[in-house]
Amino acid sequence: MEKELFEIYQAPQLRSPSLIIGWQNHDAGKLTSRLIDFLNAKLGGQTIAEIKPSGFFTLGGAVFKDNLIQAPESKFWACQKSELLIFRSEEPKYEWYRFLNAVLDFAQHYCHIKELYTVSGTVSLMAHTTPRRILAVYNQSEFQEMLQAYGLEDMTWEGPPAISSYLLWVAKRRDIPGMSLWPEIPFYLATAEDPTAAKLTLSFLNSRFNLGLDLAELDLGVKSQNEQIAQLRKENAEINKYITLLETGLSLSEEEQVILAREVYDLLEKTG
């Protein structure tokens, strides 16, 4: 383990935890942020370490968003009672392989993880009213078999890899079982929040790790968002038509997709 890559704040009191990983870039439906904030808040996550940004991120200046300076952050939290190690980071800009190995070095040699889970939303051309699925990718067939009972949908894909797939591959080479969770996010909720996807994913984690989380508070967010979009459909026939088309399994033109995404974004932005 390259110790100089880490800022270690405290020794983790974990025996054989599971690692949950979320990437902040392209955070469709703000799923990763929501999920990791929720888990840390409810399970008492303590910051235990960070990977230093030097060598992995552009440090030629500071990025700001909505008047706020953004700093690259790659942080580990320990949830002692639940035996969870949580990691959240932006995707590195450079030295991906070294970065992913740093994540696994810390998790494996310092925290003794037994398995890992990555979480990212996958944007889908679907209606928000259509039942959501969590698509899943595993790096070992035994691990896949073990998790069959959770009703996740096996993904098939050939193309450019996401960083989560790259991480699963690196973990496989170390014989660490891992899976990526890809909850579906309707494209018009991708830039807003998608509480339904967050709840679905948290339900899986709750059940998988016996976390005993009360997810009822998430229902309020789901209900409120559904009501707002239902109201928009009543007031705007064009939007209603587009969502109805999606509900019946038909697709929209690019222009129609843009109109729908913009209207829903404006609505949810306005109502906070």
Binding site: K93, Y94, W96, Y97, R98, A136, V137, Y138, N139, S141, Q144, L152, D154, M155, T156, W157, E158, G159, P160, P161, A162, S165, Y166, L168, W169, K172
Partner: protein
């Protein structure tokens, strides 16, 4: 980070010829053609993960099967005149969006390539690339050489259709061979190896075109054939040459007549300075090349080149 050696061939003072992608893929195409016609055998590979992001993942029924990275492979063959190592890099290791290597990764890659070459007793290295020149596309591309030492001048002057970089003029004796096709030679020189770059000429207006320039690869290959004392079957490459020439000719025919006339002067002038077209003409061609290429494609139908 390292080298995977699949076998340990017994080689005697082999020369190394390297090719990475670059303008018109001139060097890469030449070296890959050599590999193919000589049936060179793969014997080693540079592990890709420290240099490249994977390009493809295969996930089937929920199971991650494989990741594919750009390859950087070594091949060898034995020839009557001596042994040969070929190195083919599918991509230059870059940081960010650049096409060419710079910095630490490129330096590491160059040293790894030379580590393998020296391990097998290599003392001479060739790379190949493009020399962007104010030439007419119908003229046979010349091969322009840059050497690690003046001692090599006499030898290179004997190569067919080859001149020293200083002979083409207009460059004030200075220039840069961008990326690993250049850096490797510098690192080789520092390690005490002889190094030679053989660059095929490509017309300036085609230097940013989206297709390869096999005419220059052919010129470079003819020189390699001389050096290695071999005969090369050009059938496959010539097919590609014919296809690309046809596309270029269509683009050329769509030049405005006054530009074409000025450009055609290049056919009759020994090139020392850019001749035949004005800077404005060159800008016009570059700005329109994508459009012109598309027109050529539309008329000729879809083709793989």
């Amino acid at each position: 980070m390292g080298i995977k050696l699949f076998r340990q061939p017994e080689l005697e003072k082999p020369v190394l010829i390297c090719g990475w992608p670059g303008i018109g893929n001139i060097g890469l195409l030449a070296v890959d053609t050599l590999r193919r016609v000589l049936k060179a055998e793969e014997f080693a590979e540079i592990e890709p993960w420290d240099f490249f992001y994977p390009e493809k993942v295969s996930i089937i029924n929920g199971l991650l099967r494989d990741l594919e990275f750009p390859t950087s492979k070594f091949y060898y063959t034995r020839l009557e005149q001596g042994d040969l190592i070929l190195f083919i890099g599918e991509k230059q290791p870059t940081e960010g969006e650049r096409m060419y290597s710079t910095g630490e990764k490129a330096y590491r890659m160059a040293n790894l390539v030379l580590d393998v070459a020296e391990r097998f007793g290599c003392r001479r290295v060739y790379t190949s690339g493009a020399c962007v020149s104010p030439v007419h596309h119908t003229l046979k591309p010349r091969v322009i050489s840059v050497l690690s030492s003046e001692k090599l001048t006499a030898e290179v002057e004997k190569y067919q259709n080859t001149i020293l970089m200083s002979e083409i003029g207009g460059r004030e004796g200075e220039g840069v061979i961008t990326g690993l096709n250049g850096l490797l030679l510098a690192v080789a020189k520092k390690r005490g190896l002889e190094s030679i770059c053989l660059m095929g000429e490509i017309p300036d207006w085609l230097s940013s075109s989206p297709f390869p320039y096999p005419m220059a690869s052919r010129s470079v290959l003819e020189v390699f054939a001389d050096i290695l004392g071999i005969k090369i079957d050009f059938t496959v490459l010539d097919r590609m040459v014919a296809q690309v020439e046809e596309v270029i000719h269509r683009i050329y025919e769509s030049f405005p007549p006054e530009i074409r006339e000025r450009y055609d002067e290049r056919k009759f002038v020994a090139q020392a300075k850019p001749r035949g077209i004005t800077e404005e003409d060159a800008r016009w061609i570059k700005e329109h090349i994508d459009e012109l290429f598309k027109k050529g494609g539309e008329q000729g139908g879809e083709r793989t080149i």
